[in-house]
Amino acid sequence: MTAPRLAIEALSAISLRDGNRPILRRVSLAVATGEVHGLVGESGAGKSTIAKAILGIIPSQVKVTDGRIGFEGRDLLSLSPKDLRAVLGRDIALVPQDPSTALNPSRRIDAQMTNGLRLKRGLSANQARLRAHALLEEVQIRDPERVLDSYPHQLSGGMRQRVLIAAAFALEPKLVIADEPTTALDVTVQKQILRLIRSLQERHGTSVLFVSHDLGVVAKICDRLTVLYMGKVMEQGSTADVLAGPRHPYTKALLAANPRYDRPDTGLEPTPPDVIAALRAEIAAFDAGVAGSR
C-alpha cells in the first residue's frame, strides 16, 4: 500500500476554557488515496475538532498540544497561515454540516461557486461560470443556469447541499472533509446525497474523511472507519469488519443504540452503565499514563 494521503499521528488537544480538559487523546488515523474514511462518535467525542484541526480553523479556546497532521508529506499544523491557505480549497475542501448557513445569503450561487475557481485556478468569470455549470450538472441539478442565478434562500436544503458538494469538488481536491453533510437533511434526501458523494469520489479518486454520529450513514458510504469516544480511538478497521464483529464494547453499544428498521422492537439500547464505567476507567488509565510519562 502506498503512503496514505492523510496521516494523523498522535493528535492531542485540550480545552483551555475548561480546566485544560483533554479533547483529543493521541488520535491516529490514516486515509488512503481514494478511500472514504468514517469518523464516528457521539457528540463531544472530538470528531469536529479533528476536522477543524485539518482545516486550520480550531477555535481559540482549543489548543493542539501534540501530534502531527501529515498531508502529502507536509505537517499541516506547522504550515504558516499563508501556506495553509494555499493548500486549502485547492487540495483540501470542506462539505459543511448545515446547508442553511453555509452559503452566503446575500450572494448568488454563481458568485459563490466561482470564488474558488477564480482565486485558485485563475479562471476568468466566463470560464468559471461554465465550469460551475458543468459541476452542477455533475451533482444532478436539472436546471444549472437557473440555480446559478439564484440566491441560497430560493433553493431547498437538498439543493443547497448539492451546490456545496459541487463547490467542494470544484477544484478537484485530493481530500474532502465531509462534516456531517447529511445531518440537516431528511432521510430520502440523505440517501441521494450519500450516493452523490460516493460517485463523485470514485470518479475523481478523491479521499474523503466522513465525519458522522450516524453509524447507519457511515455503513452505507465508508470503506474504513474510526470509532472515537471522549477523544480517544476505540476501534479502527474496515467498515464491514467493524460492523460485523465489533471488538470494543463501546462499538457494540453504539451498534445496539442504532434503530433497526427491520426489527423495530430491538435496538435503541442506551449504552449500558457497566460499559460507560469501563470506558471512563480506560480514559482515566490513559490520562494517568500520559501524566506518568511526562
Partner: protein
C-alpha cells in the same frame, strides 16, 4: 427540487414596497425642492414687509394673494422660509448621519471581526462614550467650537456614531459565526476579503435601515439646536428657528408655528418609514 421564481432585481423589489415608494418619493421631492429653492420659493425668505405681518394662509379671511402659507411676525413669506429651511435640515441629515455611519460601522466591523482584544477596546470605548449625557455633550461641544452648521453636524456625529458601532458589531459577530464564513476561510480567502466581501454585504441591509432612521434623528436634533439658537445664525431660515419664533405668536398666527412643525413631522416620519421599508426589501433572507 423546484426553485422559486427568479429573484427580482433590488430596484424592482423596492418599487413594489408602498412604504419605500411613498416615503422615498416624499424625500426625493424634498431634496429637489431644497436644491431648487431659489427657483421654487415664491418669495425671498428674508424679505420683510412690516405692513403685512401675520397675514393668514390662502383661503382664510384677510389672506394676502401670493402668500400661500401666510406671513410671519416680520411679514416674511412662511412657505419660502419652510422651503429654504429644508436645505439646512437635509444637509445635516445626510452629512451628519453619513459620517456617523461611516465612523461607527467601520469600528463596529473591526470590533466584531478582529478578535477579543480589539472588541474589548472598542466596546469599552462605546460604553464610556454612551455614559456622557448627549445633550450636555453637544452643548459643550458647541460652546467650544462655536455655533454653525459644522458644529451641529459635529455634535450629531460625536454622539451618534456609537449607535452604528453597537449594531454593526453585533451583526458582524453573528455573521462571522455562520458556516459560510468558515467555508470562505477553508477556500483560503484572506481576512480582509472575508470581512468586506462576505460579511459586509450581509450587514448592509441593517446599516441602510439604521442610516435612514439616523437621518430622521439628525433632522430632529438640528431642529432642537436651532430652536435654542445653537445652530446656524438666525438670518438663515431653519425649521427649528421658525418654530421658536412661531411659538411666541402662536395665539395670533398659528400658521407660523404649524408650517415648519408639519414639515419637520412629515420629514421625520418619511425617513422612519423609508428605513423600515428598506430594511425589509434589502434583507436577502426576508426577500419573497
Amino acid at each position: 427540487m423546484d426553485i422559486g421564481p427568479q429573484a427580482p432585481t433590488v430596484a424592482a423589489r423596492l418599487m413594489r414596497d408602498p412604504k419605500v415608494v411613498c416615503a422615498g418619493g416624499f424625500i426625493l421631492l424634498l431634496i429637489v425642492v431644497a436644491i431648487a429653492a431659489p427657483w421654487v420659493a415664491p418669495k425671498d425668505p428674508l424679505a420683510q414687509n412690516l405692513l403685512m405681518t401675520t397675514t393668514p394662509p390662502a383661503g382664510f379671511p384677510d389672506a394676502e394673494p401670493g402668500f400661500l402659507l401666510g406671513t410671519d411676525g416680520l411679514g416674511r413669506d412662511v412657505l419660502s422660509r419652510v422651503i429654504y429651511g429644508a436645505r439646512v435640515s437635509l444637509t445635516v441629515a445626510f452629512v451628519a448621519a453619513g459620517l456617523a455611519c461611516l465612523i461607527g460601522s467601520l469600528l463596529g466591523l473591526l470590533a466584531g471581526f478582529l478578535g477579543e482584544l480589539v472588541d474589548a477596546l472598542i466596546s469599552r470605548l462605546v460604553d464610556v462614550w454612551m455614559a456622557f449625557p448627549p445633550v450636555l455633550l453637544s452643548i459643550l461641544l458647541i460652546a467650544v467650537i462655536g455655533t454653525g452648521l459644522h458644529s451641529v453636524i459635529a455634535a450629531i456625529v460625536v454622539i451618534d456614531w456609537t449607535r452604528f458601532c453597537r449594531v454593526v458589531r453585533t451583526e458582524t459577530k453573528s455573521q462571522a459565526q455562520m458556516d459560510y464564513v468558515v467555508a470562505a476561510r477553508t477556500i483560503g480567502f484572506s481576512r480582509p476579503a472575508i470581512l468586506f466581501r462576505e460579511i459586509l454585504p450581509n450587514v448592509v441591509p441593517v446599516l441602510i435601515a439604521l442610516l435612514t432612521l439616523e437621518m430622521g434623528i439628525a433632522v430632529v436634533v438640528e431642529a432642537i439646536l436651532s430652536f435654542v439658537g445653537l445652530s446656524v445664525s438666525s438670518d438663515t431660515p431653519t425649521w427649528g428657528g421658525m418654530i421658536a419664533e412661531g411659538r411666541q405668536i402662536v395665539h395670533e398666527a398659528w400658521w407660523v408655528l404649524a408650517a415648519p412643525l408639519a414639515a419637520l413631522f412629515a420629514t421625520v416620519v418619511a425617513f422612519n418609514q423609508l428605513g423600515d421599508g428598506l430594511a425589509r426589501s434589502l434583507d436577502p433572507v426576508l426577500r419573497r
